[in-house]
Amino acid sequence: MTTAELIGDSLWPIVSGALTGTIPLALVSMALGLVLALLVALARLSPRAWLRAPARAYVSLIRGTPLLVQLFVVFYGLPSIGVLVDPWPSAIIAFSLNVGGYAAEVIRAAILSVPRGQWEAAHMIGMDRAQALRRIILPQAARVSVPPLSNTFISLVKDTSLASLILVTELFRRAEQIAAFSQQFMVVYIEAAAVYWVICLVLSAVQSRLETRLDRHVAH
């Protein structure tokens, strides 16, 4: 089999691994992670210490341990205390928790970057804390957090390759199977790398458009 034939035969399995594995895994984990991150960020900014403390501990734990270890704890660790989780849910749980920890810090910083005067103006017109957050603060924080959250998302897309180690069939696991079968490690792994790269190029383009869109009404 020539290299060209190998690429021709293996490209679709790898791309379909991205379409049915990598991309949905990243999207779902990012979405859940963002919801979690917003809650954790708000807890960290809360005036109540009993909300701040666990939020801080969570962020510290997530950022202080390797993602691979987090993944293994969920998939291989939990069964030993009687909780059996399938590969896909395990991966989504671990990635969501991981993104939640990192994105919480991004969102917290973005909220803090909104000038205090915006809170005061919101209160002045009679808004309570929740209204001020939802209508005045978060829309402005959103703009600030697009670049760092895009970084988080792009990292997540690449990190999903770790899910191959808990038997989730995604892009990289497909590539491994093909490489093992064909014994053409160089070609197949470069092919896999190229597919990741293309996905990330698309994401970068989306990020630029989002920034331009959100920039329209902000002073420079």
Partner: protein, 284 residues
């Protein structure tokens, strides 16, 4: 345009000065991290009157305004505003502070317009979202107010597309649209380029003539002299001298007031009194 004047919100509504004070502040105290900023501040203002708060920076002027709008929680003192009485020393509830806040509206030194909202949205946000008034009415009133401050046609602009003077006029309209009993101005022209100060002061003079009750923290002594009914000079968290502008600014009795005015006027002179300027009823 006043809060009680709901049928004709945009029409000028001169009101006689009330007999009862609209605002009465007694013994207002506030400390930040143990450092007293307000030691004991007493103020009284009747409906339709304008009070100018002057004094060196750090004297507590701005803190008085912020306590009145409940942006700061004072440590002690009693505030009566309209029908609300809040004893700030007695651990007031959120609802009490909200009631106080609902009756006043503030114009900030740095405007604090919402950058992601259009001019019109900045103005209607409070009436629509907080006061839940009918959208058509709120919109019509906001557009009329914008027209009156010379910003017709800019309703759909964003704050960053406007000059500082225009932004401050939007901020004033945002405050008026809340239909407050009391307008609070925190150095409203200090952040403006000199050539833009005049428009904002002119608008404030007009509001004073229409009968709005206003507390204005300012360094604009000409404005204080010509527009205010009362001037209070603050220093070190206390009202050191309080009276009609002619007395406080013209014949200050307290050495600290004299010193402050001398320093502020060094090199500049107050322009002579304009005798054609409308004579305002002055409280004594």
């Amino acid at each position: 345009m006043s809060r009680t004047d709901r049928t004709a919100p945009a029409a000028p509504s001169p009101r006689p000065h009330g007999a009862q004070p609209l605002l009465r502040v007694r013994g207002l105290q506030k400390a930040f991290d143990g450092t007293p900023v307000l030691r004991s501040v007493d103020l009284e203002l009747r409906s339709g009157q304008v009070l100018a708060l002057i004094g060196p920076s750090g004297s507590g002027k701005t803190t008085v305004l912020r306590c009145l709008n409940a942006l700061e929680r004072a440590d002690g003192g009693v505030v009566d505003l309209d029908d609300v009485r809040v004893d700030l020393g007695a651990d007031p509830t959120r609802a009490q502070l909200d009631a106080l806040r609902d009756r006043s509206a503030m114009v900030f030194q740095h405007f604090h317009l919402f950058p992601h909202r259009t001019v019109l949205q900045n103005v209607t946000e409070g009436p629509l979202v907080v006061q839940r008034r009918p959208a058509a009415e709120v919109r019509a009133e906001a557009l009329e107010l914008l027209r009156r401050v010379g910003l017709d046609g800019r309703a759909d602009a964003y704050p960053h597309e406007m000059s500082g003077g225009q932004q401050q006029r939007v901020a004033i309209v945002r405050a008026l649209a809340l239909r407050p009993q009391l307008l609070l101005f925190d150095e409203p022209t200090s952040a403006l380029d000199p050539e833009l100060v005049g428009d904002v002061l002119a608008l404030m003079s007009e509001l004073a003539r229409e009968g709005w009750t206003m507390v204005v923290v300012t360094h604009e002594l000409t404005f204080a002299r010509d527009v205010a009914d009362q001037v209070a000079f603050m220093d070190g968290g206390l009202v050191v001298e309080h009276g009609v502008p002619a007395d406080v600014l013209g014949r200050p009795r307290q050495p600290r007031t004299q010193q402050f005015l001398r320093r502020l006027l060094r090199g500049t002179e107050l322009p002579p009194d304009d005798p054609t300027d409308g004579v305002r009823t002055v409280a004594t």
